[in-house]
């Protein structure tokens, strides 16, 4: 395997956020996003408060803003969709710069954009401060079926291997003068996909045999069990609890 010990999404550090046990962080992020989704869209200031909370976490975790914002670019295709909403939604319309926009459409677009962005920002922070291995251990600790965690672990472990295989195929195609222009070239790409499947599956069979020869019985040994003290849980709960206060205020005011 050509990659290092950590994934490029992870940002090494030793901040208080990095040191929190993974399962506490997963619960915190999940609760936070749930609270955000449950907030009424008219409470605009509440979303500002959520953003400030996330910025505070990012500062505590010493995640550079550039890194954080660049990772959030994944949201772009979906922003394009949100921009369309004011044009297609119904209801009373408002004139703005000569465009006729639906008022409820504008609210919907704001709602989707604000909540989606906050969700992406929160998960980027989680991935940046937690190693993948710990993330998987945390998921298992939270009661995800061990078999599912094993599948996810194998997938992550071999993802770069399989993607590299794909890259080698692409280079081989290109060096033989192949360029994909339109549907006429699909057959070649589909054959690559087929070959990739056969190679992945056969690698899976070999991995299984190699594991059997090392004593695999269907379960992976747990080497380090994650534990969390009350203080750590309290630290992790600070984010969703603060968000919950904002959410309740948003409903009441």
């Amino acid at each position: 395997m050509s990659t290092g010990h950590t994934h490029k999404l992870y940002r090494h550090g030793s901040s208080p956020v990095h040191r929190l046990p993974a399962h506490c962080k997963i619960v915190a992020v999940f609760a936070f996003v749930l609270v955000v989704v449950a907030t009424p869209r008219a409470a605009v200031w509440a979303f500002g408060g959520y953003a400030l909370l996330l910025v505070a976490v990012a500062v505590a975790a010493r995640v550079p803003p550039g890194f954080w914002l660049r990772r959030m670019l994944i949201e772009v295709p979906f922003v394009a969709f949100a921009v369309l909403l004011p044009f297609v939604a119904e209801g009373p319309r408002v004139e703005w710069l000569g465009l006729s926009l639906s008022e409820s459409g504008l609210w919907s677009a704001w709602n989707v954009l604000a909540k989606g962005t906050l969700g992406v920002a929160a998960s980027v922070l989680l991935a940046a401060t937690t190693e993948i291995r710990e993330l998987l251990l945390g998921l298992e600790r939270l009661g995800l079926p061990p078999l599912l965690v094993q599948i996810a672990a194998f997938m992550i472990r071999y993802l770069d291997v399989v993607a590299d295989e794909l890259r080698r195929m692409r280079i081989a195609r290109a060096s033989r003068g192949f360029t994909a222009r339109g549907p006429r070239q699909w057959a070649v790409l589909a054959k690559s996909a087929g070959a990739l499947f056969v190679r992945s599956y056969e690698r899976g069979e070999r991995v299984h045999l190699a594991m059997l020869s090392r004593g695999y019985t269907g379960t992976m040994p747990v080497i380090d069990r994650l534990t969390a003290g009350t203080a750590q849980w309290a630290g992790a709960a600070a984010l969703p609890l603060a968000a919950l206060v904002l959410c309740l205020l948003g409903w009441l005011l």
């Binding site: 459409g105 998960s123 994909a180 499947f197 899976g204 069979e205």
Partner: protein, 392 residues
């Protein structure tokens, strides 16, 4: 089509999460049955494949390109249970690590892209491969149609969820039209690529295509050994090795071949038909006397006839005593009769078969009975799926 956070309200997100969790639990059980301890590495690698195949850009022309969603492809290649697991894991990792698709929308995404796509594509694929003539081109057509339908089906399911808990105020008809329209076009590309990819795998390793297991031909072993175990492992070898093989080995191979073509469908269909006739149709049978009874009554034989010894048995005259409803009484009596006949017949058959087996020398029968043959061939399939992929 990864749904982000904030698109659906909290109750729908949670409900879809519960649906997804249930589907994953069912799939875990089903996939474990199919792959047992090979599940984790194989499903993991297949999930990595699905992840990677979503990165292949298929140019549509004019500078734009699309990519596979892979639900139908995974279902056809590795079976529905493993496919749901792989897609769920891919979506989970995409949401947690790559922030692609919202965390609260994870349940929605798994339900739409994993469960609905697979549940639509796979049964459709099986139905088509069963009805179309056997052959590779049929598998290709079936894969095409399955993928073509599965993508708009997911879009329809999305619209259904949107009707319950969508946050945007867009008229439902417009959502449906837009989603289905766009996804019908996407589905066309998905269908073409899925069919071609399945065809490519089928050409190289047909044994790896889960949806085309029926197309496997029996393995032909070219060997000089002619003991019953080898012969039983492949019925096809019987013809090739007939000259060299001793008579009893050929016989054993024949028995194995007969055992492999399972009689169960015939048996079940027969049972269903006789139960139907006895239980339901018998009521409509003539209540008149049958030929023999007619003649005897006409010629006064009946008067001398003695009542049958079992005339007051619970099932006498094809009616159940103490049950007044004619349909129920006649039907139940018929069903019980069929059951009794079946039991006696099967018992006699088993006795006869055991006597036959005892007569054949025991040395040649060890691996040659239908059960023995099944165990043999399955053993070789599990042992090395590359050299003996077709034996099961």
């Amino acid at each position: 089509m990864h749904v982000p956070d904030g698109f659906f309200d909290a109750p729908v997100s949670l409900a879809a999460g519960a649906v997804a969790a249930g589907a994953v639990a069912v799939s875990l059980r089903g996939a474990k049955r199919e792959l047992d301890d090979r599940l984790a590495p194989l499903a993991g690698l297949v999930a990595a494949f699905v992840f990677a195949v979503q990165m292949i850009n298929f140019p549509v022309g004019a500078g734009t390109s699309g990519h596979l969603m892979g639900g139908a492809l995974a279902a056809i290649l590795v079976g529905p249970y493993t496919a749901v697991l792989c897609l769920s894991v891919v979506l989970l990792i995409q949401a947690l690590l790559f922030a692609d698709g919202g965390l609260t929308a994870l349940g929605v995404n798994i339900t739409l892209l994993g469960v609905v796509a697979v549940l639509v594509a796979y049964p459709l694929f099986r139905l088509l491969t069963k009805t179309l003539p056997r052959g590779r081109s049929s598998v290709g057509i079936a894969a095409f149609v399955a993928a073509l339908v599965s993508v708009p089906a997911a879009a329809v399911a999305f619209t259904g969820l949107f009707a319950i808990g969508g946050t945007a105020d867009v008229p439902l008809g417009r959502v449906l039209a837009a989603m289905v329209g766009v996804h019908a076009a996407i589905g066309l590309g998905e269908a073409a690529i899925t069919a071609m990819t399945v065809g490519a795998v089928l050409a190289v390793r047909p044994d790896l295509v889960h949806g085309a297991r029926d197309l496997r031909r029996p393995l032909v072993l070219r060997t000089t050994r002619t003991d019953a175990g080898v012969a039983a492992a492949s019925a096809g070898v019987a013809a090739a090795g007939a000259e060299a093989a001793p008579a009893d080995a050929v016989e054993a191979a024949g028995a194995a071949g007969a055992g492999r073509r399972s009689a169960r469908p015939v048996w079940l269909a027969g049972l269903a038909a006789s139960l139907l006739c006895a239980g339901v149709l018998s009521f409509y049978a003539s209540q008149e006397l049958d030929g023999l009874e007619r003649v005897s009554t006409d010629h006064g034989i009946m008067e001398r006839e003695r009542e049958h010894d079992l005339a007051d048995s619970p099932l006498a005259d094809y009616e159940l005593r103490d049950v007044d409803n004619g349909l129920l009484s006649g039907g139940t009596a018929g069903v019980l009769g069929v059951g009794a006949t079946l039991a006696v017949g099967t018992g006699v058959l088993l006795l006869v078969r055991r006597r036959d087996r005892d007569r054949v020398p025991s040395a040649t029968t060890t691996g040659a009975g239908p059960n023995g043959a099944g165990r043999e061939s399955r053993g070789s399939d599990r042992g090395d799926s590359r050299s003996a992929p077709d034996a099961g």
